[in-house]
Symmetry: C2
Subunit: 347 residues, 2 copies
Amino acid sequence: MAVTIKDVAKVANVAPSTVSRVIANSPRISEKTKERVREVMDQLGYHPNFIARSLASQSTRAIGLVMPSSTDVVFQNPFFPTVLTGLSEGAHSKQYALHMTTGKTEDEIFDGVVAMVQGGRVDGVVLLYSKVEDRVIAYLKERNFPFVVIGKPFKDDENTSYVDNDNFKAGKEVTEHLIQLGHDRIAFIGGNLDLVVTVERLLGYEKALRNSGIHLEDNYIVNDEFLRESGQDAVEVLLSLDQPPTAMVVADDLMALGVLNKLDEMGIAVPQDVSIVSFNNVLIAEMARPPLTSVDINIFDLGYQAAKSLIQIIENPNEPIKRIIVPFKIVTRYSCGHPKDYKEVLV
Amino acid sequence: MAVTIKDVAKVANVAPSTVSRVIANSPRISEKTKERVREVMDQLGYHPNFIARSLASQSTRAIGLVMPSSTDVVFQNPFFPTVLTGLSEGAHSKQYALHMTTGKTEDEIFDGVVAMVQGGRVDGVVLLYSKVEDRVIAYLKERNFPFVVIGKPFKDDENTSYVDNDNFKAGKEVTEHLIQLGHDRIAFIGGNLDLVVTVERLLGYEKALRNSGIHLEDNYIVNDEFLRESGQDAVEVLLSLDQPPTAMVVADDLMALGVLNKLDEMGIAVPQDVSIVSFNNVLIAEMARPPLTSVDINIFDLGYQAAKSLIQIIENPNEPIKRIIVPFKIVTRYSCGHPKDYKEVLV
DNA sequence: TTGTATGCGTTATCAC
DNA sequence: GTGATAACGCATACAA
């Protein structure tokens, strides 16, 4: 049996409550006793029992992570290890532990969250995805349980805490980048429209085109699953158009990799024949051939901020709603160029 | 305040202990009371409090996951989301929850584990990495705390439970594959030699060469960090040799991607000029150009088996040491061919 | 400044 | 079959 507060108390010749106070570093204990008690703790190898502490204090110092469906290909995205790192660091800095829940189906995930929350395993929850209609969010709200979502919630975003990039702006700027290079036949290859990110980026793309007076070609917009095969299908469809696009905005690096492959297979050169920009700037963006111009959305920070603000919400009951926008940065590499018919205009 | 066992007891007109027995589905309770109590639980929306239960029963039904250093590039590997999925499924199937700990330095990780273990947050631990010298393992062993490691422990592997592939055999077979294609100038690009996998694969590679009477060229073996830049450096070194290799065994898909890029940059064609095989068979192996022949090590199963066997160990105090070998499979794609000077021999 | 007593929500050991 | 009651290890209100 592990050494408890009582054992320490006995050896140090004080009451258990005193030991407890020493642990909490209560100012009402004399330095002298503190020291003595601490010595005994060391000597006995005492470690506080989190479970007992949680029960007594009604707080676990643990935050729950809700992952997207594990069957979802999205889960394979290097995005996750990176947010995890940020989350972990943010939690760690405030001495919080991480608890996880996944599931294959939406129901499994939901049940997992309920068990975690009602079971009192965690003090708050962060959602690692942001879907269009979400039972989990509804549930959390109804119970008034602390949570923050990574990504922008689909509805009622004024009343829910989240940390996100300005994906609309990112979509817009990235498209403008292409326009400045001389492109006006720009396609958008997005992922699942259930995901809020996708639609935000799409909207930004459309805005940029409209701002520049470029016609919005419906055929230029392809939304499919977030991953590879679809990226490849999309390319085929796009290039068989009468007026194929000369540039593509792709909603995710991994998907862009698929696009790149398909293009290569079809004998189309990047960036000579078509330019590509994508999002997230995970490792593979840098490792692709050619290295991809990609939007660095600061994934680590997304996680870090999420943890930090959740903890604030937990510890301060009437903390106001937090909406944190993490800045992004377009990282220019070698996947973009001028369209073929582009003539540099000297002013 | 949440509804407790007492509330249920009151409404159902039974003692709290009875409710507890109903939850545990004790056979000593009549079906009739069980039903009534269950009805009340539903009606009141009762959910058991895990914390209280843990304290009373001295078991948390949670398993701790120890990640490698989050600063380590290894962490970026898609390997992790996949093991996580397996782990999660294995744990879930036995109603276990997942607890996580990461850290930047080895010390942070170690402290995290200690807190988790001594703090009684978890009933067992699985290590998601396997390093050459590891304090964590030493600590767990000394305390006789249930754990299993994913990957082969460096030392004392007869006395520690683990789940792993036969990486020696995999390294050997993959090399033999190359030999059969006619190669005899085969290089090995490995990762950090601190990682046990790397050395196992290397050993297998060497064995295959020796078996075939091929000279072991020291210059053909490059070990560096697990990731890209190094993969690229390695390639440069290898190809500047007098007798450059015609084939390469690369210890990881991600690294192979780097190799592929470097090769492309140097104008060397795969598989025409040099053949490549790699390990892990993550998504990018399939998405690389050309798609990589890679060893599918069944990452999901690695996680799944680890969870399952840890739980067995937890629940059965004198369960013997478990050593589980998950089978692998070479997935042949388009990165391997005959060496240029190869003449098909008709028998 | 320190000690005593009680409770946190369960499970488990006795009784009956 | 079911009901009291004592742990589990700690925090905290109240005493002293």
